[in-house]
Every structure is written in C-alpha cells, then in structure tokens.
C-alpha cells in the first residue's frame, strides 16, 4: 500500500486540519448592521435577522445569521406536517400521528428516531438502513416514505403513510373477536409475497419479517414495514452477520451461524408467518437459540448432510442427537390443512431446510395455490381488528427483538458490545 497518503507527500490536506479562522474581532459590536442597508451584490434577498445574528447574546463565534439553502428546505419540509399524539414506541423510534398542514384530513405517521445514548458513532444503523431502503422501494405492499426532515436537535423524522388498522399480529392473536378463513389468509399471504419478491428483485433482504412488521392500511392493504435491519445482497464472498431476524422467524442457516446467505432467509420467515396465520399461534416459539433449533428439528426435521449437503460445516451447527427425518407434506395436513393441499405444499416449500432448495419469492408467486379455490378475499372485505386491538397487542408484545451482536453491521440493540470488523469493509 505504501506510505499513508494521509501523512505523506504530496500535501497536507488529509491531515488534522488547522482551525484557522477569520479574524473575528473579539469585541462584539452592539451596532451590527441591519441587513436592509447592505444588500448583497447579486440582489439575493436576505432573511430578516440576517446580520443581526438571531440571538444577540450569542457567544463567540456567533450563530450563523441565516439558514442556508438546505436548512431552509428542511424547514419547509418540516412545516408541511403537524405532529400529534404518540402512536407507539419502537426499539429505535417513537411514532406519532401527524397530518398535513395544508389539508388536515391527510394523516401521516411521523417516526422520530430516538437519540441512542449508547451508540456513540453518529447516525444509528437502524435509521441509516431504514431510510436507505424506504427511499428506493416503491411498492403497494411496502410502507411508503412521504418525506424526511430533521428537527432542530438533529433528530431524524421519517414521514410515513399512516396505517391505522394495526398489524397482522393483532389479527392473529385476537382470536375471540377476529375470525378469518383460507381466502383471507391467501389474500394476506399474496400481499406479503409480492412485497418480499419486490425487495429481492431489487437486491434487498428485509431480515426481520414477522407479523407485527406487517401493518395494515385503511383499505386493508398489507404493508411490509420496519427496514431497520435490511441490507443489500452482498457480493458473493462478502460476509454478513448471522444475527438477524427475530428468533421465532429465523431460519436454520442463520441459527447455525452462516455468514453467506440469500433471500431464502426471508422466505423462511414468510413460511413462519404463513403457518402462524393458519394456527393463530407462533409456529416455532423457541425461548433460546438452542430451543429454536430443537423446535425446527422436531417440527420440520433434523438438518443433516443428506438433506442439506454442507450443513455440518457451518460454524455453529449442533442438533439434538435424536435425528428426526424430514417430515412430508402429509404430516402437515392435520395442523395446516385449512389452506388445502396446495396451500400446505407451498408452506412446506418455504420451510425446506437447505436454503439452496427452498422456494424463491418468484417461484412462490408462480405456485398453483393462488389459482386454486378459494380465491383470495378482496382487500376491502378482509377482516379487521376490533376496538380492543391495541390492548391485545400490548399483551402479546413480547420482547422479540434480535440483538445483533458484534460485527461489521453494527448493533441493533443498544447494550451489546461492539467490535470493529474492518475486515468486512475491505475488498
């Protein structure tokens, strides 16, 4: 690599910069010029208060007299919305109801990213990832980002479409007041699968698919939300963290510590959501990673070299000693038969142990199930949560966050120790 360009020839630009300042007179004049007397030569109008320094008692150096262009644009954007009551609190953000200033009937959700005391390294990974992908992905089944602005204390605010009908988890859990059938499940699954296909087709992995990240719009449309763990498909050879996806929805390759993986990880989660929609309970609710693997072995089959060549080479491969052969479709019919034989066929294919053989989002969309009766319910006619949804949800809201540990992709949780993996940033 040779000498550091930062300290060596030919120049000093990358070195610690001298904070050379304009000679600002140390004594402040109480008679600073009024802007109107001194228009700039090109006729650009000035903000009132320009030159007057805004706060007259400002310490040295004075605050910038005017907002620059971008600051102004940001203020304009911010002023388009009025923030209302708090809707909910997530791991890294508070969500508020808001409305358009010009048309109060237009409702929005304003997601204000929390300042994470524990994260000392500037803009937090969740916020960076969420914004990165929501800026790019425009699809009816992906939550849409309407605007972004910063509030004065440099907090980031994402203005999202308002999705008032809760999330899929509320519907699943609310057994007493919400009933639904195979046609409804087919409609929800269709919307979820299209969202996932769109992500993968754009080389994006979501990495946190689960019922409470599937929000429901006023018209019944399901929207995939929370891209705080998303990332682009890495080039072959690039390592990714295996500590993603909430445990119950986490595929075996990640539980075994795979650092190279594909869209198949999301497909497994989709399968878990599918199963959960049918049985109205989490399909594989492991209390720990060890138990999660045990549940997979028991309900789906034990991953072995026979059904998954290479699996035993994965760093954290351990399975219970009593090997369970991979269960066939028939074994699922009893518990999941409500969606019919074709539906079960699709479910089984999403939960194929070897990620190389697992069905892809595209293949899912081509599956026969969508075209067999019953037809998916029209979104307007889908069951909705009843009034008590929020409470039910609160009760069901278990701590199911994956805590991303030390690696190049940064922590999701706060208190987790971090170590820099510069290796991952290298070619």
């Amino acid at each position: 690599m040779g000498a550091s360009p930062l300290v060596a020839y030919p120049n000093d630009v990358l070195q610690q910069q001298q904070h050379q300042h304009h000679r600002i007179p140390s004594q402040q004049s109480p008679f600073r010029r009024q802007p109107s007397v001194n228009p700039p030569s090109n006729g650009t109008p000035l903000l009132p208060g320009a030159g007057a320094g805004g706060r007259s008692s400002a310490p040295h150096p004075q605050p910038p007299a005017t907002l620059d262009n971008l600051e102004q644009m940001n203020e304009d954007e911010k002023r388009k919305y009025v923030k209302g009551r708090k809707l909910g609190e997530g791991t890294y953000a508070n969500v508020y109801l808001g409305h358009s200033r010009s048309d109060p009937s237009v409702l929005v959700a304003i997601k204000k990213i929390k300042v994470q005391k524990e994260y000392q390294d500037g803009l937090a990974p969740d916020a960076v990832r969420e914004l990165k992908y929501l800026m790019e992905l425009h699809h009816p089944n992906i939550i849409s980002l309407l605007s972004v602005f910063s509030s004065k204390d440099q907090n980031l605010n994402l203005v999202l479409e308002y999705l008032p009908l809760g999330d899929l988890e509320m519907l699943i859990r609310n057994v007493d007041s919400v009933s639904y059938g195979a046609a409804d499940i087919k409609a929800w699954m269709g919307m979820l699968t299209r969202a996932v296909f769109f992500c993968h087709d754009n080389f994006v992995l979501h990495r946190d698919i689960k019922p409470n990240n599937l929000l429901i719009a006023a018209d019944g449309e399901v929207k995939l939300a929370d891209f705080g763990l998303a990332r682009s498909f890495a080039d072959p050879g690039h390592k990714m963290t295996s500590n993603v996806i909430t445990r119950w929805y986490r595929p075996p390759e990640l539980l075994f510590g795979a650092r190279h993986y594909s869209g198949a990880v999301d497909i497994w989660s989709v399968g878990c959501v599918f199963a959960e929609l049918i049985i109205r309970n989490a399909f594989l609710p492991g209390d720990s990673e060890v138990e999660q693997i045990a549940l997979i072995c028991r309900h789906i089959g034990t991953p072995t070299e026979e059904n998954w060549p290479g699996v035993t080479l994965l760093k954290e491969y351990t399975v219970p000693s009593d090997v369970v052969p991979v269960l066939g479709k028939e074994a699922y019919m009893g518990r999941f038969g409500a969606v019919g034989s074709e539906g079960v066929d699709l479910l089984v294919k999403t939960m194929i142990l070897d990620p190389k053989n697992r069905i892809t989002a595209r293949q899912m969309l081509e599956h026969r199930w969508w075209r067999t009766d019953p037809k998916p319910t029209r979104k307007e006619d889908l069951p909705r949560k009843s009034g008590g949804g929020a409470e039910v949800k609160a009760a069901a809201d278990l701590k199911r966050r994956p805590g991303v540990v030390a690696d190049d992709e940064g922590p999701r949780g706060a208190k987790v120790a971090r170590k820099l993996d510069f290796g991952a940033a290298k070619k």
């Binding site: 000679r23 004049s29 700039p40 903000l47 706060r55 002023r79 204390d153 820099l420 940033a425 290298k426």
Partner: protein, 418 residues
Amino acid sequence: MATEDVRYRESSQFRLWSFSHSQLAAMRENTNAKAVASISERLSSLGATVPPSSIPMDISAPTSTANTPDPEGGGGTPRLPEFLSPADEATMVTFYTAELMRAGAHAEFSDEIIATAATLFRRFYVTNSIMTYPPQEMLVVALFFGCKAEGAFPRITDFLKTFGRERPEEILAGEFLLFRGIRFSIDVKHPFRALRGAVMELRSLGDIEETRIEAAERRAKDILRFSPLITDAYFHYTPSQIMMAALSLADRSLAERLIQATFHHVNVPEISGTNSGADTPNPTTTNTKETNKSEDNKAFIIGSYVRDKVLGTIESCRDMLSKELPERKEHWANRAVYKAQVVPLKKKLNKCHDPDRWNLVELQKVRREQALSSTKKLDGSEDESAALKDDGAVFGSEAKRRKVSGNKKLEDPFGGPL
C-alpha cells in the same frame, strides 16, 4: 438493460440526483453566487467594527474592489476578499475527490464504499459551496458515511485511527450536515454490477477469447473505480451507460458487440470491426419488403432510433470519462500540480470561507443551543418562527425547482430536482 433502466427511474439517484449538463452548471453557479452573497454579508457585518488599519493589507489593494462593490462607500468597512469562482470550486471538488479516493484506498475500503463516498461528497458540493463547508473535513465525513451507506458500521474511534485523526466530534458534527446535504438519499447505484453482467454476456456469445474478455474487464473496472467518480458521470448517465462507456474505452469493439447483441433485432451495419449481426438472423433484418409487416417496420424504426440514442449517450459518457482516465490519479497526487493549481485556491479559500460554518464542531454547538432555546415553545404548539414564515419563498426552493425541473413531476415528495 431495458428493465434495469425502468427500475433505475424509481431510484433516488435518478429522481433527485440526475441532471442535464446545463441544469448542473446552473445549480453550481447558483450555489457559488449564494455563498458569495452570504459570506460577503457576513464578513461585512463582522468587520463593521474593525478599524481600517486592522484589515490585513493583502486582502484587497485599494484598486481591486471590482468584484466586491462596497455598498457603504468605503469608510470603516473592510474590503472583501477575493472569492472562488464556480470554476475554482470545480477544481477544488475534483482535487478533493481524488484525495478522498486516495484516503479510501489507503484504508482499504471496498470499491463500493469508496465510490459511494465520492459520489455523496460530490453531491454535497452541488448545493453547498466549498467556501461554506470545509472540503478536507467533509471528505473524511463522506468516507465515514460511505461505510454506513454500504452497510458497514465502523466505530468512529477505530475509523479515525485509520486516518491518524483523533477528534470524533469533527466527523460526527459533519455527518448530519452531509446527510441533509445529500437530501437523505443514501443509496448510490454503481456500474460494477452491470460490468459483471456484461462480462457474463460476452462470455455467452461464445466466440470471444477469454483473455481478451478478462483484459477488457480489468481495464473497465479500473476505469469505473476512478473516472466516473471524479467526473460528473453519475449525475448524467445511468450505471449501465457508464459501464458501457468504460467497456468501450477498454475495448471498443467488445462494447459494440454487446450493443449489437442488445439491439439484435435491429441490424447494426454501421458498427465496424464486428460481424454485423450475421449470427443473429432475424426477420426484421431480411429486407424482402413483402415479408416485412408494418409492425416489424415500426419495431425496426423505434429500435434503431433507441439504439442511435443509446450509442450517442454512451459516446458522450465515454468522452467525459476519457478526460479523467485512471492514469490521472498521479496527476492529482503530483506535487507540482498541487502547488500550481490547488495551493493558490487554498490561499484564496483561507480568506473567503464562511466564518459561521467553517468550524463544524462550533456550528453544531451553536445549532444545538438554538434548538434548546426554541424547544420550549415547540411541542404541541406550532413552530411559528417569524423568520421562517416570511422567508419560505425567499430561498424559494419552489421557484428554483420549477425552473430546472423540466418534465419531471413536480409533486415529488422530496422536492423534485434541486
């Protein structure tokens, strides 16, 4: 290629950061003019109390006030410094982009991280003047943020060690500034993936020597890692166009072969050095009038029109890249060049930078204090700062947008093109 371009139109890179040559030039002139105006204003107001004797004599000799009219007619007003011109700013941005890439290579960052950092840096300085925010700080900020944009999240302290720096607050203070300056669009689309696709396609043609393909790929990749990043290519061309231009610089006839394969339904007789579509027989290329349905004719005409347009675009991108081929790395790192071209501008910059914004750490501190003092009235009630209310139209993003937006839709939630 077609579907990729459809998708590209959805990207923030296209929606927010693609401009015609004249749009981009106008934006930069505007940025420069605004910076000059506001710095002049600021320096004048700061200097109001300075007795004439304390003004350094070299700032302006009595005769050199031409570009800095003194509205007060002299008296106790300080002379304004000489400002950077838009051309000066362009030179500085180019130079610092080269520095950024050198620093990124030193840190052994991936191609994507370096390319993203360079792109974000250049985007930032479309709407911000080099005189307003310090480029040698911002380039390190851009590298730090480039890591994050590409999904790596280094600890700031470790990051700084790589660059022999110590003060995290300098980078962190600039990060949000950069983030806002790039209008929150983090995703940068690069041509690297397209090159991999092109190479696969060339291989699939089956009649090209592997060594030739490999050589072309190597050279094209080298070009992609430098030339588009230090020029305005990303502002004007799509990733696949940039890739084709680089491939064409590496091996022209291979690139032509690829274009031909893409437009195989259109005969490409005018492209030299290839066997002009002989191996891709197609009804539309057989010129028996009777068998040519009008549908085919239409496809042919549209096809050749599109192809000619594509060829023209690739050609102009090629011209742009050819001005900064990878060999120019040495140019920008050359001491003589530095002395002759950069040092004079840095000297100017030392005198004409924005006194309020040059120190990022101070700026952030001041902004935080301002935020604190105004939060009390904020929540619940409306934020009715008189200044803001009156001046929504002053810097009139709206008016400016309309001017340059052309045929792009105005109601873009992110404000359309700047």
